[in-house]
Symmetry: C2
Amino acid sequence: MIDGKLGATLGMEVQGGKKFEDYKASGETYEKMRKGFYEPHERLKDMDLDGIDAQVLFSNTGTFRLLNIEDPELQVACMAAYNDFLSEFCAADPQRLIGVAMISADDVAAAVREIQRVASLPGIRGVVMPLYPRCNPLNSANYDPLWAAAQDANLPLHVHQGTGDPRFSRFLNAPPEQNLRGELMATMSDGSLGNYAALSKIIFGGVLERFPRLKFVSVEGNIGWLGYFLERADRTYRRHRYWTRFDLPMLPSEYFHRQVYATFIEDRVGVRIRDFIGIDNLMWSSDYPHTDTTWPNSRKYVEEMFKDVPAIETAKIVCGNARRLYALAS
Amino acid sequence: MIDGKLGATLGMEVQGGKKFEDYKASGETYEKMRKGFYEPHERLKDMDLDGIDAQVLFSNTGTFRLLNIEDPELQVACMAAYNDFLSEFCAADPQRLIGVAMISADDVAAAVREIQRVASLPGIRGVVMPLYPRCNPLNSANYDPLWAAAQDANLPLHVHQGTGDPRFSRFLNAPPEQNLRGELMATMSDGSLGNYAALSKIIFGGVLERFPRLKFVSVEGNIGWLGYFLERADRTYRRHRYWTRFDLPMLPSEYFHRQVYATFIEDRVGVRIRDFIGIDNLMWSSDYPHTDTTWPNSRKYVEEMFKDVPAIETAKIVCGNARRLYALAS
């Protein structure tokens, strides 16, 4: 219940381990659910089962709905409560459970205060803001205090596929009518478009130029499109910066390689063109316990996806890059 | 002048052959322009210069503005006038100049009539509709008569990057103010997002299932993102079709391989992953005389891009696939 209204019942966020045929969009109950989905010590056991050393934890499709709360004070209070809960959840093993605190982008001053607050909360090692902020696009100059706060707090700033996507509102509570099923499928299939547009805005908007120590992470957007993204962005820069009088001093791909990370789950194309994207910028993830998860067969998926990849590169992408970004013990 | 208002002066559509440093967004005059940009016999000479056997001709950023005309009768009349002009232009050599007639998507019945009319116009071998129609999205069932008309007329249906993109309206006449330059660059860099979303809607909307002989062409959207697009679409289909009760009988990639073509200009990533996308579905283009053109050095660009590609595959992508699609003489 959010602000007196039923946000949604649990569904897509808790399908891990089921057959695809048995996936449900809503109506799951805690009684029937794996304890690892909500209890941290059981979570650690589920990670052991799947060969996962550490997990980076994001709010789910339920808590993302906090982004839609109209009353700004209530929204700030709900997010702070969620962030406190997350810190407590990670306390079960702060080297294996890595919390990413949630902030709204509606009130930049409030977001800055929350970034400064969570920076000293145990277990919190990053912040996530909406991919589609409802007030201003990501290249808006009024976010500068927010970028500065994340940079100063040394907290990587994440954007997560789907968060704030206005297209999802019509699909929230139940499987859609016949004529909307194709649109729902298209929306699930092309969710990376939001991550693509966000990176475009961040890089061409000069955010990474103005905040050179800010780390920016594209989450659950996969990576197979990133080779094209970088090639095209550099070409646009080389061809069009004169007549547009565009004045960033570095190539878009140089900002990307210096400051951007991108996560993926299953992505054979992305793994194949990893050298175009950047071996040091990619992080595999299991998406547990959401519908796209590879749990409990992640080892098999990873082995299959990386079968033609040198071990040193695989080690970076499934472990080393995340360890460096989140400053984990080795 | 459109409907009494200045649409724009010539600029981006006529920069072919210039140094990037000399590109201009507007203010070009016929006196200073290469004759090949507007005169068909001179055009053929420019093609000879660049080693181009045949060119597929689209309306430019000027005529795309016909899509914004409010009065439906005026819009239909302007498009018909453009299509007649195009047919006359192609008469200079109908084997080398391939006309793609323009239709609006605002009035589907009028679009159907225009498709039927241009089907018998000499030189016209396809139709192009807006990538971002202003009334209904591309998966709307009310376009079914339009798909049927194109299929029956055996005219491939094209969507062209940028056409109808509401984001471009703020950049139309002049280089933008300082704070919009980055947004203009981002918009040019990520134009393929529109082609991506359009293919998603067409495939998951069941258009290619309902119209199995319709040929659908993504124009100027490049191809490096298509490997990821297809992998992700198939994965979404396999994972999510049960709970959504989605009922297309074939994989998204199977519809793509049967009915979709995609054009590109410079795209090293796309050429590298061509086998993921489909060797028979890709068509290189020179984009003459628009700003992204490789003219008059297309041979050099092609040689460089295809240096690691077997000759039989290169021949399909730079020639054979287009010859088959547009039924050109060999």
